[in-house]
Subunit: 298 residues, 2 copies
């Protein structure tokens, strides 16, 4: 085991991952169940940090994600796209905790057709994925509560778009009539595929507001088992997201996600005729290492 | 005042309206704050009915809406579109309460491109609106939690579509990050209009999942006041609904709704280049009278 050189934290709204990183960027130890910023009481981020990395050596620290938002430890103003590693390094926000320097990675902002968009944390994972694959371009998908699709050229995150797919799915399932007929069961691949295929028939934004209701009527009319309704709804939303996001994409899509979520998107991409590849684990740590090294922190 | 001839109830999921109806179909008295079926404990619908119409004479009764659903008093199986008054009469479900006959109006079902759709209660309001206007056709919009758009020709409800606009709006506002930056205020016509106009730029279902996020980023970037964000989101969804629903519509749209909701949709229709007219109040009672008379109940 090489000597540890850096501590990196990917500190989001609902979860935190901490990495002890070696001289070559490799992960030597990790904490995967740290509390998201919303679960840190009274903003006691220093104490939460100390608990997570207890026993790790005193090393330079770099934090990415919502920890750098207005609701986090300190606001790290967005860097604007197109943004390369150097632009992110130039926008690092420094704080001190217990006599140790901490760098907060800025989120990125961009503008698409008059709509501002923002990300926090995903930029670090993307830079890490590029680092691991020794690439300087590609299309990256980071699915989840807020799916991010980013285009990278020449090592530079050129632009990106957010799709609220995961959060919309949760709100519809838990807080509308669509959840009423659903019953939990094993993932239903057929229900999911039917949802993805149905998404291809939608030719407008409003058509989605109509088609969502099929999640109820298929249940009412016994055309889908109650254990498949949740997957149908998921397929409908994921399919709609992919159809829009891939409109001008030729490259294969690189997915940065947990295995379960990556599997879901891989299947949907396949159904819609797109190739995809899965990024290795620990892209976040690789991104921390890349940014910290470029900033001269380690 | 003419003699009362009929009692009609429009008994939905969250509210109930009861009408005491005269010989010409006019409303002689009304109760507007009855409990929806979900608020009637242990399904004690008879007792709830007795409370609502206490003091009214013993007359034939006709009930429309979710009271005829599986979760209601007794399930009244759907009549299938195209459906005229006679088809609805033929599908009335009869029950008895305290020695008095009650007719339950069936909901309607239809099929659009492989997707089943259903309504309960709106068919009665539509038939009532036709009755009052002495028309036998038109396009009817009943906005709300689940907006219904119905096409009527020759006195026959030919087909309809449901848009989950209202319920999606509520779920997004109350149960996603989009509500976080919103502040309650007077209705913001400019925010609403910006949402409606933004909806016209969306060329796919997935584009909506992206554009929703503008409700957050406009707030983050101070491009809309926090009191306008809720109206922006509303305009985005209402505009998307209208754009899809009016794809093949030439007629002016007749809106059956409360004044506040009707105003919102009238404004959005105008912004999108469509004419609309407002149906008179009490379409529900007129529908009850029309169906009951055709059934020989009064």
């Amino acid at each position: 085991m090489s000597n540890p050189h850096l501590i990196g934290l990917d500190w989001g709204t609902t979860a935190c991952r901490a990495y002890l990183i070696g001289a070559g960027g490799e992960v030597l130890a990790r904490v995967t169940d740290g509390p998201g910023i919303l679960r840190v009481e009274s903003g006691a981020f220093g104490a939460a940090l100390d608990t997570m990395i207890a026993g790790w050596p005193a090393l330079p620290m770099i934090l990415s994600g919502m920890i750098g938002s207005r609701q986090g430890w300190k606001e790290a103003p967005y860097a604007h796209c197109p943004a390369a590693t150097g632009d992110i390094v130039a926008a690092l926000t420094r704080i001190e905790h217990a006599g140790r320097a901490i760098a907060l990675v800025p989120g990125l902002s961009c503008e698409n057709g008059g709509m501002p968009d923002v990300m926090r944390g995903e930029e670090t994972q993307i830079l890490g994925a590029l680092e691991i694959a020794k690439q300087d371009g590609g299309v990256f998908l980071l699915p989840g509560t807020h799916s991010k699709w980013a285009g990278v050229t020449g090592g530079c995150i050129a632009s990106f778009r957010t799709f609220m797919t995961g959060e919309v799915f949760g709100a519809l399932k838990d807080h509308t009539i669509l959840g009423r007929l659903m019953r939990e069961g094993a993932p239903d691949a057929d229900g999911f595929a039917r949802g993805v295929r149905a998404s291809t028939t939608l030719t407008s934004a409003g058509a989605l507001l109509n088609r969502l209701f099929a999640t109820r009527t298929y249940g009412l009319m016994n055309r889908l088992p109650d254990t498949a309704l949740s997957d149908y709804l998921s397929g409908l939303l994921v399919g709609a997201e992919i159809a829009e996001a891939t409109k001008q994409i030729e490259n294969p899509v690189t997915i940065i996600a947990s295995p379960a979520l990556a599997h879901r998107y891989t299947e949907a991409l396949k159904l819609l005729g797109h190739e995809s590849a899965l990024a290795p684990a620990d892209c976040g740590a690789a991104g921390h290492w890349r940014i910290a090294r470029a900033a001269g922190l380690c």
